[in-house]
């Protein structure tokens, strides 16, 4: 198949844009243009972000003020989504919780992506013994069930938000290392890498200036999926013992609290679960759209 068959597009972004950012931007535009579901995902995600940012202005109640009179009530005019175990307004807690859950999800995945990618890139690019050793170390980390590893880390460091972020990030590093490594192994044989070497570029330059932008799309897609896992992991950590210290509202923590009282008032578990579902849905649609847009094989072509 000749690559010339593809239709030349006439988009030319300003040259000042670095390759990476312009790539991401183009991918986004592509995603919107080619994929309606991606657009839905992006809109959903933006809504969640806006709600989270605007929480202090739009939340009807203080998310941590308790009202013992209206504990565990169902939805009503005063409390649209009802109240929790402490008589706190579920809607307000969901709105504020979005901030924490987004931060937990984003931050932990950013850390995991950064570390995992560098590890995978290094292993894949240099190959040989270094590769074997690095991936063996990754296997060691993988040998611990993620939840247990997270639990140990949080037990060791204490359940503050940053520590939970760190624990979740740590458990996600090996998968990202693998995800980064696989395409690098294929890419390092590509001629532009050989060309870079022939032009006298340093290994670091080839790795970060040339290989990284090429594997970034794959990684971004996985990252969007793993954010969901991160939010869920937070809930699961809370379930088996260690969540973020109350009264901080996080969606995971709310699911866990709701679960405690699921037989008394199921809506306490249902609403935060739905919130998680919507976030995950948004991210997944976005991620899938991103991938479909980036993958040249799936692009419409003769």
């Amino acid at each position: 198949m000749k690559s010339d068959l593809s239709i030349p597009t006439k988009a030319s972004p300003p040259s000042e844009l670095r390759a990476v950012s312009s790539l991401a931007w183009r991918a986004f535009v592509q995603a919107f243009r080619t994929n309606a579901t991606a657009a839905v995902g992006a809109v959903l995600f933006m809504i969640i972000v806006v709600l989270a940012v605007a929480a202090p202005w739009i939340a009807p109640y203080d998310p941590i003020s308790q009202d013992m009179i209206v504990r565990m009530e169902g939805p009503s005019m005063a409390h649209w989504l009802g109240t929790d175990y402490f008589g706190r307004d579920t809607l307000s807690r969901l709105l504020y919780g979005a901030r924490y859950s987004l931060v937990i999800g984003l931050l932990s995945i950013v850390i995991a992506v950064a570390v995992g990618t560098v590890i995978g890139l290094t292993a894949g690019y240099f190959g040989g013994r270094l590769d074997i050793v690095i991936m063996q170390v990754m296997d060691v980390v993988l040998a611990f069930p993620a939840l247990i590893l997270g639990l140990i880390l949080v037990a060791m460091l204490g359940p503050t938000m940053m520590n939970i972020v760190f624990a979740i990030a740590f458990t996600a590093i090996p998968p990202f290392a693998r995800i980064a490594r696989a395409p690098v192994i294929a890419l390092r044989e590509r001629e532009f890498v050989q060309a870079g070497k022939a032009l006298g570029f340093s290994n670091l330059r080839i790795m970060f200036r040339h290989l990284l932008p090429n594997i970034l799309p794959d990684i971004l897609v996985m990252a969007s999926l793993w954010m969901a896992t991160a939010v869920r992991t937070e809930a699961s950590l809370a379930f088996i013992g260690l969540g973020i210290a109350p009264p901080t509202p996080t969606w995971g923590g709310m699911v866990r609290e709701g679960f405690e009282n699921i037989l008394d008032n199921p809506s306490l578990a249902i609403f935060p679960s739905l919130a998680v579902l919507i976030l995950v849905l948004a991210l997944n649609l976005l991620g899938d759209g991103l991938r479909d847009a980036i993958d040249p094989k799936l692009r419409t072509e003769p």
């Binding site: 690559s3 010339d4 239709i7 030349p8 060309a195 006298g200 003769p302």
Partner: protein, 612 residues
């Protein structure tokens, strides 16, 4: 099991009618019209070559005959196959036509066979869905086909998987599959493009034999005028989705009716064109910046008398083959074995040979993109194999490389301007502004608009991309360029332009080239001297005219004989009966293998041939 709506009796009625008839065919993908109302016929027993360059719409046409295009394609016009209206058939009926009435062979034998199914299964499957065959009957039929397409040891190989077969063998299997149900039409889409020239000759022979036996109509899609001249009865030339010419092959070559056809033919180098000349010669293709030179001889003479620009001595590169519990090395691929040659300043040495002969590895070993096992590479008085660090980087600056795949060798995520500027900046030669000026200058020099510097590689055509690669290579002002199959992936007319550019640059900058290629006709055009490689070794080396006009080594002769000649009057493919099929031997050797020493004798001054 199967209920084809196409009755054989009906076909008898249309026997005199063309097997394939295309009328006003249009194919659209969204806004893009790939095929713009073409018409042509193919009659029984006839071979029609559909010729055109990338983007001409020839492959799209082939796929639309079989209705194999993706759903996003909009088809218009008429296609009749064996009298059946292909446009109105439902999927189930289409299936009966596919494989039953028309078989198809694709360009890439490496990817066109399913890697996880045995070849026997894949061939016998063709029977299973066309006719009342039991599995064992289908297998028996398939085995017979294996013999007909001359796959040696067919019984044994029947149950093997595609990856154990060479490219040529896989293409035979594809042919077996396509011809299984004795279709009335065979569509061959660039069936030999990916093959080595000797294998190509074998496959073309096979196809010719089979066609004679079965009287099948053949639609042969190719960009190679040499192949056209060898196989076609009639030629349909396509350009930008339109048919520009439809004539018999003799007429076309004798008297091309259309400018484009003429251009195509003039761009095709013919082996033997250069008889009697010593220096390379431009094609004289019109490009904006080379017109001033005009067509004619490359006046730049070589200077064999001066000290060599590059000398390679006893270069050996082996790759370990590991196995066993501890991953011990239990053998080596002798990719390059004891290779020596020199390249003079301003000279082009071509390294020719078929895939796997070690020619690319030789090029990469020189720059140490792969680590050689032994030998020396002297450049500017320095042994590159014993330098490292800054000295090596400096040497890499002076020796540049151009790769085969102009898309693959550019980072798809980097603008071309940045790609050209990067080596300049990395080697710290200039400031940003100077680099920008230099990029603009270089782009203009290779025939691109400097204003396109902010575009990404995929926005350029293949030829343009190769120009970008050349500009990037020139950015560091090298004195030596290794061109690894630099024009092989380009269309003929583009190929000619790029070669002209390379020759101009050689003259302008006094460059030396190591030109690695499998294409003898191109090699003849560009080289001062030629070295022929086989299984990691040079078997013949000497001045171009000596090697090509007076080949001494049997392998060189075989290689030259296999090159198709773009002249239908010199057609050599004849019924040859069962010809011997031999595959290249493997360069893998066990541990402790000592290569037999090579001895050369000098035929004429500077023309050395391995003694056998």
């Amino acid at each position: 099991m199967m209920a084809s709506p196409v009755k054989v009796s009906q076909m008898a009625d249309v026997a005199s009618a063309p097997v394939l008839s295309i009328k006003d065919l249009t194919v659209r993908f969204g806004q893009y019209e790939a095929v713009k109302g073409i018409s042509f016929n193919v009659a029984q027993g006839e071979t029609v070559a559909l010729v055109g360059e990338s983007g001409s719409g020839k492959s799209v046409t082939a796929l639309s005959i079989m209705r194999l295009l993706p759903e996003s394609a909009f088809l218009g016009g008429e296609i009749h196959l064996s009298g059946q209206d292909m446009m109105s058939l439902r999927e189930a009926d289409l299936r009966a036509m596919r494989g039953g009435q028309a078989g198809m062979i694709f360009q890439e034998p490496m990817t066109s066979l399913n890697p996880v199914l045995t070849v026997g299964f894949q061939v016998s499957e063709a029977f299973r869905y066309h006719g009342d065959y039991s599995q064992s009957e289908a297998d028996a039929e398939a085995l017979r086909l294996f013999e007909r397409v001359r796959i040696p040891d067919g019984k044994k190989r029947f149950g093997q998987y595609p990856h154990t077969f060479s490219g040529g063998m896989r293409q035979r299997i594809m042919i077996a599959m396509a011809l299984a149900c004795r279709p009335r039409l065979l569509i061959a889409d660039e069936p030999t493009t990916a093959l080595d020239v000797t294998v190509q000759a074998e496959i073309l022979n096979l196809l010719a034999d089979l066609q004679r036996e079965t009287n099948t109509a053949v639609l042969f899609i190719t960009h190679d005028m040499g192949v056209v001249a060898e196989v076609a009865d009639r030629v349909v030339v396509m350009r930008y989705g339109k048919v520009v010419e439809d004539r018999t092959v003799e007429d076309l070559f004798a008297e091309p009716g259309h400018d484009y056809t003429r251009q195509l033919l003039s761009a095709v180098p013919r082996l033997g064109d250069m008889r009697g000349e010593n220096a390379p010669r431009r094609f004289g293709s019109p490009t904006p910046h080379t017109e001033r030179l005009g067509p004619g001889n490359n006046s730049g003479g070589t200077s064999r008398s001066k000290p060599a620009a590059l000398s390679v001595e006893r270069l050996t590169t082996r790759f370990p083959v590991r196995g066993g519990i501890l991953g011990r090395v239990n053998g080596y691929v002798h990719a390059v074995e004891n290779v020596s040659f020199t390249v003079a300043p301003n000279e082009t040495l071509s390294l020719v040979g078929e895939s796997g002969c070690g020619k690319s590895t030789t090029g990469r070993s020189i720059l140490r993109l792969v680590e050689p096992t032994a030998g020396a590479v002297r450049f500017d008085g320095q042994d590159l194999l014993s330098t490292s660090g800054a000295a090596l980087q400096e040497a890499r600056r002076r020796i540049q490389m151009i790769f085969q795949d102009p898309f693959g060798s550019l980072d798809p995520r980097q603008t071309v301007g940045s790609a050209i500027a990067e080596p300049i900046l990395v080697h710290g030669h200039r400031t940003g502004a100077e680099a920008r000026d230099r990029v603009a200058h270089l782009m203009e020099r290779v025939g691109l608009s400097a204003g396109h510097a902010s575009r990404f590689p995929h926005e350029f055509s293949g030829g343009q991309r190769q120009r970008i690669c050349i500009a990037r290579a020139l950015a560091l002002e090298p004195s030596f360029i290794i061109a690894d199959e630099a024009v092989s992936a380009l269309d003929v007319s583009i190929k000619a332009q790029v070669i002209d550019l390379l020759l101009d640059l050689q003259e302008e900058f006094g460059l030396s080239y190591l030109f690695i290629s499998h294409d003898m006709a191109i090699v003849e055009r560009v080289s001062h001297r030629v070295a022929v490689m086989l299984l990691g070794r040079i078997v013949e080396i000497g001045p171009r005219s000596a090697v090509i006009e007076n080949p001494q080594h049997p392998y060189t002769r075989k290689l030259l004989a296999a090159v198709p000649i773009p002249d239908p009057s010199l057609r050599r493919i004849k019924s040859t009966g069962a010809r011997q099929v031999d595959e290249l031997k493997s360069p893998i050797r066990p541990l402790g293998y000592t290569p037999t020493p090579q001895r050369f004798h000098e035929v004429t001054p500077g023309h050395f041939v391995e003694e056998i």
